[in-house]
Symmetry: C2
Subunit: 350 residues, 2 copies
DNA sequence: TTGAAAGCGCTAACAC
DNA sequence: GTGTTAGCGCTTTCAA
């Protein structure tokens, strides 16, 4: 532990430099319209005293915080077994850094945490929020709306467009449906006909969209070939066993993400089915540490997760700027949602 | 994006409840020493107006922030290919939540970011800092010290004890050396004699400690059996190839972490060496998604990473409380470093 | 028990 | 250009 020395204030710097507080403030905030010699003098005083502005005081008057909350609402353990969030965080962090904004991470581990998050958001700590992993029945959007904080969502939220209470909902998403279609078409192109799908949790839109994409191609798929799962390796194993039991003759599997695909691969190996000769497998995400590590390496649908994070931050910050420019009811130029393309990455599994 | 309504202030609540600001403040902060009827009246006004305290204003006077910075200084991409940090974060987040404190994440992607972090820490945004992944030549400790922020380190920092400028350095670490010893002894117990070691980056103390543990047991190890690496799967592959070239007759490998062990396993399989029959492999970390997923599943040294995170937060908060109690130069009761035990987890690879 | 009043450190009009 | 002044919203003595 280190000591907390009491820090010098603007006042002290002003005294030392022999100018007024206002002048110091001007210099500290860019130095526009201050004589060069004074700027110099103030800079020196700042340096000598080791002055750093007190943000609480600054925020109190400017009402800006240069901080953005990232809310990750994922009760399950999964969040952290999955590089997904980490990658998004990284993209966000990079973009925020460029704009000199800080990242405040709010993780919720259960319903009890929601009140805390709501309080925090409403407490005027941050300029905006980035929100992930919404489930259909999530109370979070309500809280956020109540807190009145500008928000960009990661992944299309599940509610209908009616929710445009104050301005449209802004989100960044991948083309989950299109990506899924491409994956399944690839399997079809390889000559497979009995293609199964291991879904993600269907209370999240990305899982639903991937299922829809699967159905787009396999228009009259045998319902026994679709089995629900949860994006985890263990869930993937379970689903694969179920599938093998229901339809031993299946010849391909499209898993809703790489993690569940890895579980499926394990079961296939265990059961002596060769991949891709007996059963071809395609995943989704292109999570490198997973997809490249499986045996055989996984053919999968790539989405640029880091870019999604970066984009979310960019949209949010742009929106904040907008709002700053025209203080009331900004109409034109408000940012709108973005859907990023996906690409199929061919490896050995299909 | 959502609208930012201007929030009601203490003043407004006071007016509505027909009391003074001071009374409202008391009620909001617990309500000690206020007549029950008034408490009730104020609570109702708060409710009706949807009042939430402005934290900037509060911090300005209390000098507390109920926020802790987590600094992750890892220039390489590795940070996020590795569940390690995510797990620590999770432990930290849980503990902070209990104490109603917020987590502010500061990621540094390169030297340029350091100044920003220093500024932030010094800016009085947070009550303390939790710092990870220090490399030997890291400028971060200096910055932190300059910022005068109470800090707990994750992993023993590399500097000598002399650095106790203001109070001893507090850290939380695993018993890396002991764990390594146990791993190697296990291999010895299995009858292996030509045991190799794939190290981590030796500018981090955990990697050095694991190497030391290896040497403790293999007192006069053939230097060709020790090869440097970097904690990544690819690094592990490279190291394994190198080892196989230098010493084709090796019969066991202790890798400094699971990720590099997974790379080593892949190379061994590729070269047709059976694991564990021809070459036994032990990792370190017991990162479940890695260790259980490898083929064969990895025998490894488990460290409770989430617990480390939790403990770091706990030590920091305890220190802050201490400091709150006795405002000057707290002597007794200051928290001190903790080293957590490790355990060997036997799976199939050794 | 409650209220009045004095700031916390800073910015932003507004004068000079 | 530079200084003066009035708050931002809250907590916290100090009196009543």
């Amino acid at each position: 532990m280190t000591e907390t020395a009491s820090r010098p204030t603007l006042e002290a710097v002003a005294a030392r430099a022999g100018v007024s507080r206002a002048t110091v403030s001007r210099v500290v905030n860019g130095g526009e319209g201050v004589r060069e010699t004074l700027v110099e003098r103030v800079r020196r005083a700042v340096e000598e005293l080791g002055y750093v502005p007190n943000q609480a005081a600054r925020s109190l008057v400017t009402r800006r915080h240069d901080a953005v909350a990232v809310v990750i609402a994922e009760p399950e353990t999964r969040v952290f077994a999955d590089p997904f969030f980490a990658l998004q965080l990284r993209g966000i962090s990079k973009e925020l850094t460029v704009h000199d904004s800080q990242l405040v991470l709010l993780l919720t581990e259960g319903r009890e945490d929601y009140a805390r998050v709501g309080r925090y958001l409403a407490g005027g700590h941050v300029d905006g929020a980035l929100v992930f992993s919404l489930h259909l029945d999530d109370p979070l959007p309500g809280l956020i709306h109540g807190a009145g904080v500008p928000t960009v969502f990661g992944g299309r939220p599940g509610w209908s467009d009616g929710m445009r209470v104050n301005g449209p909902t802004v989100y960044v998403d991948s083309d989950n449906r299109g990506g899924a279609r491409e994956a399944v078409r690839h399997l079809v192109g390889l000559g497979h006909t009995r293609i199964a799908h291991i879904t993600g949790p269907l209370d999240q839109t990305c899982a639903v969209d991937r299922l829809d994409g699967f159905r787009d191609v396999m228009v009259d798929a045998d319902p026994r070939l679709i089995v629900g799962s949860d994006f985890t390796p263990v869930g993937g194993e379970r689903a694969m066993r179920e599938l093998l039991e229901r339809c031993p003759e299946l010849d391909a599997v499209f898993a809703a993400n790489d993690l569940s695909a890895s579980g499926a691969l394990r079961v296939l190996r265990e059961r002596g089915r060769r991949v891709p000769e007996d059963v071809a497998v395609v995943g989704f995400d292109d999570m490198l540490p997973v997809a490249e590590q499986t045996d055989p390496p996984l053919t999968t649908v790539r989405q640029d997760i880091e870019e999604m994070g970066r984009l979310m931050a960019r949209l949010l910050l742009r929106g904040l700027e907008q709002r700053g420019r025209d203080e009331q009811g900004s109409v034109g130029g408000a940012p709108s949602s973005v859907v990023l393309p996906t690409t199929l990455v061919r490896r050995a599994s299909a």
